[in-house]
């Protein structure tokens, strides 16, 4: 309860300082939306050309894409800035201040650094997800809605956990940003298309090593009734929330070990 109150205070201040530069604030969101549309267009052109990608239609691929973008957007609002800044904060000793407050360091970092640019992500993600559900005639039963929400929670947890873990690397090595870029951006790009189109190595990697597959591919099989696409085992379709929770717990454990590794700076 205290945390919610406190967070609303921080958000208020954040918005106040950001809205001083109103133009920049809305530009950030607009740029995100434009980036999204460019991607959308690319996908549309390609699928117009080929009709389907291994049996996945345009709206099915878009559905896949949306689960990724929406969960990335939600976790990005909270975790992206803190984890990006972490490397610098650890190197210049600014992290000192975080450790002398009566709030856990991770929430405090999140409170201090909201990222509004992802609002665009989230809004568009929701909008086009609704579009997909419509076009694909997915049944909106109570059960399906609950399932979708649980999948989104699980997917957001996976995205967040991976951001936290890549952030933790800063406590051991300098120059962690390039690693986190590779994992958060380059590797995640595979999620734009169904996992089944890639070779076995990529499939294995994105299922067991960095379980990105659970963000969108596996749960999509469930919603889109793609029985023919099963990889490894069919039960993975139900795995998103469990994988999300486990991975998040793992990331928190690594985080607390990492914080105690913090060496501060000499000046």
């Amino acid at each position: 309860m205290h945390y919610i109150q406190l967070y609303s205070r921080f958000i208020l201040i954040y918005l106040k300082t950001r809205l001083e530069y109103r133009f920049a604030f809305f530009m950030d969101i607009l740029i995100q939306i434009i980036t999204f549309f460019v991607m959308f267009l690319g996908l549309w052109i390609m699928l117009n050309h080929f009709q389907t990608i291994r049996g996945w239609t345009f709206y099915e691929v878009l559905f896949l894409y949306n689960l990724n973008i929406l969960s990335h957007g939600i976790s990005g609002m909270f975790f992206m800035s803190p984890m990006r800044q972490l490397e610098a904060m650890v190197q210049n000793g600014e992290f000192d201040g975080i450790l002398t407050r009566p709030i856990n360091p991770l929430p405090l970092l999140i409170f201090k650094q909201f990222q509004h640019a992802y609002i665009g992500h989230v809004l568009l993600g929701i909008g086009s997800l609704i579009l997909c559900i419509n076009k694909l005639n997915l049944e909106l039963s109570g059960l399906n809605i609950v399932m979708l929400i649980l999948v989104l929670i699980g997917a957001t947890l996976i995205q967040s956990a991976i951001m936290i873990m890549t952030g933790c690397v800063s406590f051991w090595f300098v120059k962690a940003t390039s690693l986190s870029n590779t994992i958060i951006y380059d590797l995640r790009r595979f999620l734009n298309y169904p996992l089944s189109i890639y070779n076995k190595f990529i499939q294995f990697l994105l299922t067991f090593v960095i379980p990105y597959g659970f963000i969108n591919f596996y749960p999509s099989l469930l919603f889109l009734n793609k029985e023919g696409e099963v990889l490894f085992t069919a039960s993975f379709q139900y795995g998103t929330l469990i994988v999300g929770l486990l991975l998040y717990m793992l990331s928190i454990t690594i985080w607390s070990v990492a914080v105690n590794k913090y060496q501060s700076t000499g000046s």
Partner: protein, 339 residues
């Protein structure tokens, strides 16, 4: 049980040794080599409620490192710290409510927002009740003169203003203990004085225990009832300030520039009759080192002025670093003599 209890505390930093060139970088990746730096080496002390303790030592002595272990930022390599019966790094959240922390080099306030908003944030973060908050803000703003810049964004404050705001922020939640790492660094005399007054007042009224590091002898003289001196991570002295000064710290240096260079030698000879410790001629100036207990500056100056005319003179008071250096050389000499 003392409020702060430090026992055989040691901190060793690990620094990767980087190898040169591309092959070096690749080697680093697979086989990292480290060097170790012992910043704090097996120190122990106890501090009781209500004390103001100066934690002193030359650059790189290990002062900040010790403070960082006491506030819970760093995890000790060996030994232990207990503050108010808590182990700081294990109980960061509760510990944070018991302490106030100010680093002179770095602000703890929010960079982009006005001071008042930053302070308000402290209220919510520390769950400070309304009337306590109001009372403290009023009191602190008066002593520290915060009124003139309370609506300014922190990044626009001068160093002195920022320090005062930082001090206020660190004390709003009525902490039992205040840790200050070089609180007067880079400040002018007036602000320094204001800050010292404030610290003294808080200590007197609230019985707040204060641990501070500084390189300014005036801070120590005006504030500290007790000093702990460390060098190379080890305790050199722990006791009251007057004893330390009597023993090592009452030397001052007067530097004189006579009008006529040929007076230098004769002046020096004349001074030999006085009870001074050392005289030196350097860059056409005469440097006289004396002990304040034996003779005062007026006696020396009047003797000189009766003998010749001078253009300029300066008096260099005893610096804490100088005291420590002297103490160190003396101790290491003693060590050598024993062998």
């Amino acid at each position: 049980m003392s409020l702060i209890s430090v026992n055989n505390l040691t901190k060793q930093f690990q620094r990767p040794i980087r190898q040169e060139g591309f092959t070096g970088a690749v080697k680093d990746l697979f086989h990292r080599q480290y060097e170790y730096k012992t910043a704090v080496n097996d120190i122990s002390f106890q501090i009781n409620q209500g004390e103001i303790v100066g934690y002193l030592g030359p650059n790189g002595a290990g002062k900040s490192t010790t403070i960082k272990m006491m506030v819970g930022i760093l995890v000790p390599t060996a030994g232990s710290v207990t503050v108010n019966e808590l182990i700081p790094y294990k109980n960061r959240k509760i510990h944070a409510k018991n302490i106030g922390v100010v680093f002179g080099q770095r602000t703890q306030l929010w960079w982009d927002i006005p001071v008042t908003e930053s302070l308000l944030l402290m209220k919510y973060m520390y769950k400070i009740p309304n009337d306590q908050y109001r009372k403290n803000i009023e009191l602190f703003s008066d002593i520290l003169d915060l009124h003139e810049f309370k609506n300014t964004a922190v990044r626009q404050l001068s160093l002195g203003q920022r320090m005062r705001a930082d001090l206020c922020a660190a004390l709003l939640h009525d902490p039992k203990i205040l840790f200050l790492d070089e609180p007067t660094i880079g400040l002018d005399v007036v602000v320094k004085e204001k800050i010292r007054e404030f610290i003294k007042e808080i200590n007197k009224v609230r019985q707040t225990t204060v641990v501070l590091t500084t390189h300014d002898m005036d801070d120590v003289e005006k504030l500290c009832s007790r000093v702990i001196v460390i060098d190379h991570g080890q305790i050199m002295y722990d006791g009251n300030i007057s004893h330390l000064k009597d023993k090592y710290g009452s030397d001052e240096i007067i530097t004189i520039e006579p009008e006529h260079n040929h007076d230098l030698i004769s002046l020096r000879d004349k001074l030999l009759s006085l009870n001074v410790m050392d005289t030196k001629i350097k860059d056409l100036k005469l440097q006289i080192t004396y002990n304040k207990g034996d003779i005062n500056s007026m006696q020396i100056l009047s003797k000189i002025m009766s003998e010749s005319s001078i253009i300029d003179f300066t008096i260099q008071p005893c610096e804490i670093d100088e005291v420590i250096r002297r103490m160190y050389t003396e101790n290491s000499l003693k060590g050598k003599l024993k062998i």
